[in-house]
Symmetry: D2
Subunit: 230 residues, 4 copies
C-alpha cells in the first residue's frame, strides 16, 4: 500500500470528533496504516483540517481533506485551498458532506481545479438524483449518504439497498468514469460486504470507527470484505 | 520568548498565500521564532489551517488559527473547532477577518467558549464602531483593519491615524480590558512605531512579511520598534 | 396613528407562518391597524418578504421588512435592498433575528445605510453583551430575544427579567440613543406590562399573535398596557 | 395569454434594479402583459421579492420569484418559502442565479417541493456540465447563463453558441423532460432568434429590458422572434 488511491476503498472520516483530534488523530491514522499494510486493502483517512499536514507527513496511506473552499491561493484568510491541501501532502478532498454542504458552483469549481492539480475528489450526495447531478460534473468519486442514517449504526447498504443500487445505475448512465461509494450507518464488515455487492467500490465511514473502543478491530472488521480474492 | 502572548505583539497572518503554505509555512514560522528570540519581542504566527498542528508542534512561539467555526466537537465534517486548534497546539484564533467575516452570534459564541478553554481571541473589525461592538463581547484583542488598505502597503497607522485612535478610545470606553491591535498596509518598522504611538499594543500583518523577499529582514524591521526599552 | 414609529411599540413579526401569508397576511395587518387606531397605540407589522409592498400599500400603520441584504440596488437577483423596502412602503427593517442571523459587518452596513435613507432598524440580539455590541453600531432599536424562549409562551420579561434589565443598562451605557425592545415567549398583556416595567420601550412578538385563534383579542390584550395614561 | 407557462418563453428578471422597483416594477410588468397579449407570446416577469404579491395580483401573465429558501413555512423570519410565493400568486421561481447561488441540496429540495405544490422551477447554471447536473434533479427549466457575459450586451447565443448547444445536448441525454433556456447578454430580437435556433425554448433577460429607454419597444423586439408561425 502507499498513498495511491485504489478500489475498493475504505475512507475513514475523522469529522470533528475529539476522539480523533490532534495526537489521537495521528494514532488513529497510524492504526489505519498498519491494517492497510497487513491486509493489502486501500484505507484512506480524512483527519481534522487543522491536523492535515501533521498527519499526512507521518503516514504512508492516502490522506484526504474533509473540505476545501473554492478559492485561489492568496489573500484569503481562513480559507482552505486545493493548493494548501496538496502542499500538506493530501491526495484529495471530500466535498459537500451532509455536514458541510456547498453550492453547486463550488462543486463545479473544485472538481475541475482538483483534476488540474492531480488531486482526487469524493463528492457526497444524499439522494440518487444528486449522485447523478454530481456525476455530471466529473469528480473521481461520488458517495451516496442518506443523512437520516448517518451516525445511527443502521447501514445504508442494508436499510436502503435500493438507494445504493439506484445511485450506481444513475451514475453509470450519466458518467461511467465516476466511482460510487456509499456511507451512513456502516459499522460492520457485513455492512461493507453488502455495499460492495450492491455495486459500490468502497465505503465512507466515521463514527463506526472513530468511536469504536478498539480502533484496530473495527478497521480490520470493515476492511476484511475488501481483501482481494486470490 | 515562549508560547505565551505578550504585548506589544507582532501577529503574522499567512493567509492562503502559497508562499507560506506547507513546508514553506514552517520555514517562515521558524524565521519568526528566531527573530522573536533574538530581539525579545513577542511574535506570533497564524499559518494556513491545514498546517496548524504541523507548525505548532515545531516552533516555540504563539501559534494562532486564522479562523474557527462556532461548533462543538462531534459529527461536524469540515469544521474547525476551538478544541481542535487547542489539541493542535494553538494558543488562540483570529476571527472575523475581513476576508472571512462571520455572524455576530458566532463572535459571541467563540469569544465565550475560547475563554473557557483558555484560548485567546483576536477579533477583527473594519470601522471604529465595530471595534466598540466587538469589545462589548470581551475578546482578548480587537484588531482594527480598514479593508480598503489591506494589501496596499499604505499603512493604516499613517493613512488613517484617526481611525486607529478613535478605535482605541471607543474600546477603552466600552471594555478597557480588551487590547487593541491594528492592521492593513503595514510594511515597515516606521508603520509599526506609529501604530504603537497611536495607542495600540501591536499589529496584525500579512503580505508585508509573507511576500517580502527577505523574511528575516522584514520581520526584524517590524519587530524592532517593539523591543522593550531598557 | 399613522406610519410614524412611536414608543411604546408593539411590533408583530409574521415570520414565515402560513397563517399570515398572502391574503391572510393582509387580514392580520388590517386587524393590527384597527386596534392601533382604537387604542391609540403604535402597532407595526413585519409581513412576509413577498407580501411587503402588497400589505404596505393597504394599511396605515408602520410596516417593517423582516430582513434586508447588505447590497446596493443593481444586478443582484434575489436580494432585498433597503431601497426596495423603501419603494415598497416600509418604514424600516428587522435585522439579525435569531432565525436569520447575519454577519457583524452586514449590521454595520445596514444600520448606516438605513439612516441615510430615512429608514429605521430593529436589530435583534440573544444575550445582553450582544445588545451592547449592536448598540455600538447605532441602530434605532435593539431587541433582546433569548432564542431558547422564542415560541415557548414563557415570556422573557417574566422568565429572565435580569437579561432584560442588564440589556437596558448596557445599551444605556454604550449608546443611550438606542431604544430597547424585548421579545421571546410574550403572549399576554401581563408579559408586555412587565417588559415595559423592566425599562424596555416595546416588544417584538410573533406566534403569540399569529397563532392566536382570535387575532383582534390577542393584539388588544398585548396593546392595552401600552395605552398612554391620561 | 394567461398565467400559464408556455414555450417559447421570454422571462424578464427585474433583479434588484431600482429602475424596476416598487411602482415602477408594476409599470414594467404591465408593459410586459400588454406586449404578451398583443403578440400572443408567453412573457413572464420576476419582480423584486418585496413586490411579488403586489405585482402578481395586478397582472395576468406568469409571475416568478427570483429566489426561494429551502425551508418549510413556520418560525423562519426573513425566509421566502415556496408556499409564500404560491400564496402571493407566483407560478414558480428562478433558483441558483449566478447572483444568488445556492447549495446543491437546496436545489434538490426546492425542485421536489415545487412539483408537489404545482409550481415551476427555472434553475440557472453557468457551464454545460452544470446544466446536466441540474437536469438530473428534474426542474421544469434549466437556464444556461455564462456569468462573464451577464450584463455585457454580448449575447451568449452569438458569442458562445457552442455552450448553448452543448447544454441542450447534455440535458436531452440526462433528462429530456427538462426545457432549456439561455441567458446572458441578450439585448436584441436577433439574439433571441439565434437562441431559439440553437435549440432553446426561450430566454432569461434582465438589463437588456429593465435598463432600456423604451420598455415596450425592447420587449416587443425580443418577443417577435417568438411569435408562433402560422
Amino acid at each position: 500500500m502507499s498513498r495511491k488511491i485504489e478500489f475498493p476503498l475504505l475512507l475513514i472520516n475523522f469529522k470533528a470528533y475529539r476522539e480523533a483530534s490532534g495526537k489521537r488523530g495521528l494514532e488513529l491514522a497510524k492504526v489505519a496504516e498498519a491494517v492497510s499494510k497487513d491486509l493489502g486493502v486501500c484505507i484512506a483517512v480524512a483527519p481534522q483540517l487543522t491536523d492535515l499536514m501533521y498527519i499526512a507527513q507521518q503516514v504512508d496511506i492516502p490522506v484526504f481533506s474533509q473540505h476545501v473552499d473554492p478559492v485561489e491561493p492568496g489573500a484569503r484568510t481562513g480559507h482552505v485551498t486545493l493548493e494548501a491541501i496538496k502542499d500538506a501532502g493530501a491526495v484529495g478532498t471530500i466535498l459537500n458532506h451532509s455536514e458541510k454542504r456547498v453550492r453547486l458552483d463550488y462543486i463545479t469549481y473544485v472538481v475541475k481545479k482538483a483534476k488540474e492539480l492531480g488531486l482526487v475528489t469524493c463528492v457526497c450526495a444524499t439522494v440518487p438524483e444528486e449522485t447523478a447531478a454530481v456525476a455530471a460534473l466529473g469528480p473521481t468519486m461520488v458517495a451516496i449518504e442518506p443523512p437520516e442514517l448517518i451516525g445511527t449504526g443502521k447501514a445504508v447498504s442494508k436499510e436502503k439497498p435500493e438507494v445504493v443500487t439506484r445511485s450506481v445505475d444513475l451514475v453509470k448512465k450519466v458518467n461511467p468514469e465516476v466511482t460510487v461509494l456509499c456511507g451512513a450507518g456502516i459499522v460492520t464488515g457485513e455492512d461493507v460486504a453488502k455495499a460492495l455487492e450492491l455495486g459500490t467500490k468502497g465505503v465512507l465511514v466515521a463514527s463506526g470507527i472513530v468511536k469504536a473502543k478498539d480502533w484496530r478491530k473495527a478497521i480490520e472488521d470493515m476492511a476484511k470484505p475488501m481483501v482481494p480474492k486470490k
